[in-house]
Symmetry: none
Subunit: 224 residues, 2 copies
């Protein structure tokens, strides 16, 4: 499990996040503003930071910026409802993901796990799921004892789906992860890459499949 920094000036939000993450087995370090957060980061080995945008003293943006320069820690921003500009600004500063308040605890857990998986993978170069292994430094997929080499976009798409296996990801979300939040092209490009992945990994042969959730997006399922 991981040690996670939670920076928010509202005590009950901190409490909610803490209990949610601790129930998952993580260790939580709290901070009420950016200053406290920086302080905690100096003394604790933190693997992920959950940061509220609106904080007194040093706000979430400043903290994000500082963290990006100083540490290689995934950042999950908490933004208020409707503040789209906050989301964009946060991502531009280097945040990895964002969550709109109020949020469902399950949503928080899912995003935290996805971020941890992603960073862990980047670290050791491989992501493991049941019967599936993604090798990031060769863009290869290992399954059924075979190795398949993939083009960059296909690999990253599959990887993003795999990092959030079991959750449905919208095209928007996938584009943001694989192409970057400022991608200008067509949403439908995702479909084509999905198809190519499905062609390369037919579900009756490989232990996973990419399922379409009509109106929502795609999800990777590991075969039972």
């Amino acid at each position: 499990m991981a040690t996670i920094l939670v920076a928010d000036d509202e005590p009950h939000i901190r409490e909610l996040v803490r209990s949610t993450l601790e129930r998952e087995g993580h260790r939580v370090v709290e901070a009420a503003d950016g200053r406290e957060a920086a302080d905690a980061l100096a003394h604790e080995p933190v693997q992920l930071a959950v940061i509220d945008v609106m904080m007194p003293e040093v706000d979430g943006f400043e903290l994000t910026q500082w963290l990006r320069e100083e540490r290689d820690v995934p950042i999950l921003l908490l933004t208020a409802l409707g503040e789209t500009s906050h989301k964009v600004r946060g991502l531009r500063l280097g945040a990895d993901d964002y969550l709109v308040k109020p949020f469902a605890p399950e949503e928080l857990v899912a995003r935290v796990e996805a971020l941890l998986r992603r960073y862990r993978m980047r670290a050791d170069g491989a992501l493991d799921l049941a019967g599936l292994r993604l090798l990031s430094d060769t863009y290869e997929v290992e399954a059924n004892g075979e190795r398949t080499s993939l083009p960059p976009k296909e690999f990253q798409l599959l990887f993003t789906l795999a990092a959030s296996a079991g959750r449905t990801l919208s095209r928007d979300k996938l584009i943001e992860e694989v192409w970057g939040y400022d991608y200008a092209g067509d949403e439908r490009t995702v479909d084509v890459h999905i198809k190519r992945l499905r062609d390369k990994f037919p579900e009756d042969i490989y232990p996973f499949r990419i399922r379409t959730v009509r109106g929502l997006g795609y999800r990777l399922e590991v075969n039972a």
Copy 2:
């Protein structure tokens, strides 16, 4: 295995580095600043030094400089994210490699092993891989019972790939290792040398091959 000096003023970083390296079978000597480090070096036979740039009293730069003048020990610098100037300054002073904090333990291990291999090779003049032997004294490659003499750049390129066999190295990284961090020329020069190596060591005859990972770089693979 080796005895490794770890100099960092942050205890949890020292602890992380220690546990990571000890898990690999190395012995670790700790120091909280440059002064302690110099002290330890006087009493311990150290084969490698992991040094944080930012330390009180005597900082990483001074220590690096001193070490370069006094000892022939590989130096791995730890620098803060975004401090490119630190990286350059460190390399200029004679550091062998750098790692941006915070880092993945696997990354640390990979770099430490690569440095030890490189220095061990320089010491006894040879690097051995399965069925492949690189003689640094003469820039010769021994394989299939034959010896082939190589031009300097080709040899160093092959050597760099071999020292990190199994890992993909970007053109950037290869240039930094072979040509130096301040090389100004074209990235594609690497390609040409790769081609010449491939011509000299066809994979159906020699027990290794240089593989292209599109969009990432090159990697040396030892044939199974």
